[in-house]
Symmetry: C2
Subunit: 537 residues, 2 copies
């Protein structure tokens, strides 16, 4: 490479065409975006008829697209064509109204527009100075959502004073990419505070710190604990059961915490979930806050999915007690019509986060930061760089208003109830846990003629057939040792007819399985008679 000159004397060597390559030419931007909008319009119009789960094999994309990057430029239409021909057929269509798996990634016209504008502006708001509008919009959007959720003012950036004016509070918020990051940064803050209280300047003593969560808590919590350096032996998973509908039992919690304290350990952090991923169980926030207060444990509320429902007064009670916790996270990218990614984290004392997460490199120093009048959002997250995430969340609230958002939550819940009622009305099925929000956990139930083991096989088979059909997609979980189907309502193109069609398909497929594929089996040991499922692949 000795002959290559990385410092040519003039620009002319590279300006092959008159103006050179202008990646952000406004006319190109408009043209490419108009083509993309056309693609999106067609996609939304057709996604209902596409298989929800694609029938592709691992490695399929390499067989359709070129394996090495091209040297030459290509018309933008080529990329769009390859997306149509190669990407779409290999997608799991979360936008499909027949998507009932996981939690839906709800979306809206306003939020996509907000994200588009943010992508075009493409600012990096690590400090207030690096983008005052983005920093302030993020705080405003978080305060707005806190209002809708009726979070205590202590979590807001701006409090209202008695006279009606507003004043900077001690609380604060930040928009992160995932709940996992919200857990990680609060875990680190709690860890450092606990170590500090123990007189440790570094991490000496970290092996004495303990963390807690119900066994229904998302696995990412246990991963976040390990990322933050907590000892795996000190991560307590508190067993739950049907007696509390799989919510955390404060009596069990205090037993475990007290035993740890008696053993010289330091209860540092507990994660409380409102709406677990598996079954939408709700841990009792207030009772946990009561139990843990004596230990000085950081209480975090993970309301990633169900938090959004709490903008409706009839669901708000699930957050009761939140005024006594240290931090709360809610992901509007799940159920508040905000496209990925958008996890809101509020902390009651912003300084407890920034104490652990602050950096102060010379090249980011500026007078406004030095004045202490602003919070630089890089000091409340893992990274430095950050997109203008507040815009798309603000645009959802600004455009739809609280009423429409509540209407949509209620409509989703009502559709889930339609489904639940259908399940309960069919004697072959059972609803496994009470439905709290828009997730129904159900299964073909075992009975006199079907053992538990066969029921598991039948439910497995039902899920496989439904998902293979391309006509719908649902997921499963295990609750109390039982294999259970999860039917999550709320995908943003979903209407009641999709829920009813899905139920019809479930019913019919179950009939096929149960009628066509069973035989009477007489046990050679006990002589009892069972129905046995046959030919399940």
């Amino acid at each position: 490479m000795g002959s290559l000159d990385s410092n040519p004397a003039s620009l002319d060597a590279f300006a092959a065409d008159a103006e050179g390559f202008q990646p952000l030419n406004a006319d190109d931007v408009r043209s490419y975006l108009h083509k993309s909008v056309d693609f999106i319009y067609d996609y939304y119009k057709s996604v209902e008829s596409l298989p929800v789960l694609p029938g592709v094999e691992p490695g399929y994309l390499r067989r359709l697209l070129q394996s090495a990057p091209p040297s030459a430029a290509a018309p933008f239409d080529i990329a769009i064509k390859e997306i149509r021909d190669a990407v779409v057929p290999g997608m799991t269509h979360w936008a499909s109204p027949n998507f009932f798996a996981f939690f839906p990634a709800t979306n809206s016209a306003a939020t996509i527009a907000g994200e588009l504008i943010a992508s075009a502006m493409n600012t990096v708001g690590f400090t207030w100075q690096a983008n005052p509008a983005a920093t302030e919009m993020e705080a405003l959007a978080l305060d707005w959502l806190a209002h809708l959720l009726r979070l205590p003012e202590s979590f807001m950036t701006m409090n209202r004073t008695a006279g009606g004016a507003s004043a900077q509070g001690t609380g604060g918020g930040v928009i992160l990419g995932t709940t996992s990051e919200a857990m990680l940064v609060t875990l680190v803050a709690a860890r450092d505070a606990a170590l500090h209280r123990m007189g440790s300047n570094g991490v000496v003593g970290i092996t004495r710190l303990t963390v807690y969560a119900a066994d229904q808590t998302h696995s990412t919590f246990f991963k976040a604990c390990r990322l933050a350096g907590f000892d795996p032996a000190n991560i307590r998973s508190i067993p739950t059961g049907a007696d509390t509908d799989y919510g955390l039992d404060p009596a069990r919690l205090i037993e475990v915490m007290q035993a740890d304290v008696d053993a010289g350990l330091v209860p540092t952090y507990i994660c409380v979930t409102v709406g677990t991923t598996s079954s939408n169980a709700v841990d009792p926030i207030g009772a946990v806050a009561d139990v843990t207060a004596q230990f000085g444990t950081w209480v975090h509320v993970d309301a990633a999915y169900a938090g959004s429902a709490c903008i409706c007064p009839e669901f708000r009670h699930h957050l009761d007690g939140v005024e006594r916790v240290d931090s709360v996270s809610v992901s509007p990218h799940k159920w508040l019509m905000t496209c990925l990614d958008c996890t809101c984290l509020w902390v009651r004392d912003a300084h407890r986060l920034t104490d652990s997460l602050e950096t102060n490199p010379e090249y980011l120093k500026n007078d406004v930061t030095d004045s202490g009048a602003v919070t630089d959002l890089k000091d409340m997250q893992v990274g430095v760089g950050r997109r203008f995430r507040g815009l798309k969340l603000w645009m959802v609230m600004r455009t739809y208003g609280a009423t429409k958002l509540q209407e949509r939550i209620r409509s989703d819940v009502a559709m889930a109830k339609v489904f639940e009622d259908s399940v309960r009305a069919d004697g072959r099925f059972e609803v496994i846990v009470p439905r709290n929000f828009a997730l129904v956990c159900f299964r073909i139930k075992p009975g006199v003629a079907m053992e538990e083991k066969d029921a598991e096989r039948a439910n497995h088979e039902l899920m496989e057939r439904l998902n293979r059909s391309g006509k719908m997609y649902l997921a499963h979980t295990v609750i109390g040792g039982k294999f259970v189907l999860r039917f999550a309502v709320g995908s943003s193109l979903q209407e009641e007819r999709h829920v009813r069609s899905a139920w019809d398909l479930i019913r019919e497929t179950t009939t096929e399985i149960m009628e066509g594929k069973m035989r009477v089996h007489v046990c050679t040991d006990c002589s009892d008679m069972f129905l046995q499922i046959l030919d399940l692949e």
Copy 2:
């Protein structure tokens, strides 16, 4: 709230209008996006004339927008109007061609289109099954970029075999949000591997682990180490100096590492930077790999900014030795015309990451994952959820091709050289470190008539005046104790005329400062004569 019913008997209660609220109605999507495209077009056409740094005070946005969220819906035009009237005037315009601060966030028509389509599809590809196309597109885009960078095949997901066919390798990659996350996940993998080698099942022994980086390394590295639980006392910042152009000196490194080993500590991880944020210094990858091999230390290369330049053969030598490191990260959102956020992380052995980061909750289990034929990308990052980030990176390479991307890098470097030559030709200035890429670090130089202290004041004043003018924005740093101005070329709307205008403004402002605001000062102690800067506010 006892009177509120969260389980109404029918949907009718909520379907006030015939169809209810349809947040993703295709016609609304098209209409909102067309309005957004018009806004973006106008923005790009006018951004050149907007003040790069806004003259707003903290709290400005609350005075312009309503403090509480609205109940009622509003036409989409209202949001656009408020963005025009309240957001734009408070923005630091990273898209402005007069932006020379930090590193530019380069952008392009193709990538914005890719991000838009991804936002509309809004899939969450945590597992392969949850979106095969997104998972495979991410691996393909990473392999393409690895090709452009001529990374060894050991970092790629698919290797070419001797016969020309391809086969799954042990390497792998993932697209993350920030370099910080890339550092964090590799730090955790290195930490766990070191602990495991020490016979520790948990984190007992973590206080013996040491990590290393040159003192010019981004502050976020030291933060990532603390997040991962490394003891602050064990985080080594190796001093650099002008003798190595502020690159890491391997001789110093081995001294420090050997001393640690002699003290019973365990060198676990070193971060090598190609193109530091402060001054674009380059640590010698190969020499560091040689030094650390004997200790089994994980070597990570952070080429966040300058990595993109290495798609040009004349810059590729900066990555020499990369075949002997464990992981590399490059952020195309800095200099490869890809909008935020997009940090590419490659690891030579993907299992070393997934061993630490894997989770396996019941509700994500599926046959394809169980088969081992795929990597679920959630196991290579902090969180679970993830956007379809591969699309926008792939679209950049697909649409522009290697040649155009190289052309743009070279054009940016050539423009930086134009600026550098201008600085060198003006006797009042000096270039502080050799320019490696498109960043020029310079200052008004002290001389016989200006003490170091006065030079610092003059440079401070110059920066303040330039940035306050709204006509340009540059940042500063401190190198070798000197206050230095950073002039970073490459913002995607930038042309040579903007660089030349900026230089003219710098020249003229310097003249104003030096001619209008100095007086001769005779020191009462030494009787020497100095120029003193006056009235700098």
